[in-house]
């Protein structure tokens, strides 16, 4: 299995509070991604990174920011959490040669 961890695995927070989710990889892959998974929508891309300090928006980026200061870490921040951001968040990595993405175990976030 690809070495991808996410922390925390579960979090409950209140509306308006900042939240940071962490993704850590040990594969030295260049590309990293953050998705959210909601019923009826599959996985939707929030942000992705194609190198240290190189990031770009996905299809549902509003309300989220990301940072990547090291190859192995990709942080997702909700500056002011809202109930609509209650979801399961997945981190993924990919090697450009292979094409497929490998996923972390997911983080369940509940915003009350």
């Amino acid at each position: 299995d690809a070495g991808i961890t996410q922390s925390p695995r579960h979090k409950v927070t209140e509306t308006g509070t900042p939240v940071t989710l962490r993704c850590h990889q040990t594969e030295n892959h260049r590309y990293m991604y953050w998705y959210r998974q909601d019923p009826g929508h599959g996985l939707r891309l929030i942000h992705y990174s194609y190198g240290v300090k190189d990031t770009d928006k996905g299809e549902v980026s509003d309300g989220y920011s990301v940072s990547r200061s090291k190859t192995e870490d990709f942080l997702l921040t909700l500056e002011s959490a809202t109930s609509s951001q209650t979801s399961v968040y997945f981190c993924a990595i990919s090697d450009p040669r292979g094409g497929e993405q490998f996923f972390g175990p997911g983080t369940r976030l509940t915003v009350l």
């Binding site: 991604y33 992705y48 399961v88 094409g99 497929e100 175990p105 997911g106």
Partner: protein, 116 residues
């Protein structure tokens, strides 16, 4: 922009039978990747099978095989000899081969139930 559609929200099959999950996609590109991922109740996303669009031969991985119809933009997954452990959500995904664009586009998923 590419889109992926899975028209079957739910499917069920008897154990040991064969089931086919459907996926269609929309793209103007000629080269790309297609994938099927499995998500069991543990929530972990697991790669089941991949297909490169330039390859005419359908991919096969043990009991899992695909029927790739490039002209029809169809990419179905066949599971033979279904087992209880195959019960999961299945997602079809598309990836462009354009340089620098490593993003996946997912379908909405199909929930597969295996009846003993």
């Amino acid at each position: 922009a590419q889109t992926v559609t899975q028209s079957q929200p739910e499917m069920s099959v008897q154990e040991a039978e064969t089931v086919t999950l459907s996926c269609t996609y929309d793209t103007s590109e000629s080269d790309y990747y297609l994938f099927w991922y499995k998500q069991p109740p543990s929530r972990q996303m697991i790669l089941v099978i991949r297909q490169e669009a330039y390859k005419q031969q359908n991919a096969t991985e043990n009991r899992f095989s695909v029927n790739f119809q490039k002209a029809a933009k169809s990419f179905s997954l066949k599971i033979s000899d279904s087992q209880l452990g195959d019960a999961a959500m299945y997602f079809c995904a598309y990836r462009t081969l354009l340089q620098g664009a490593q993003k996946l586009v997912f379908g909405q998923g199909t929930r597969l139930t295996i009846n003993p």
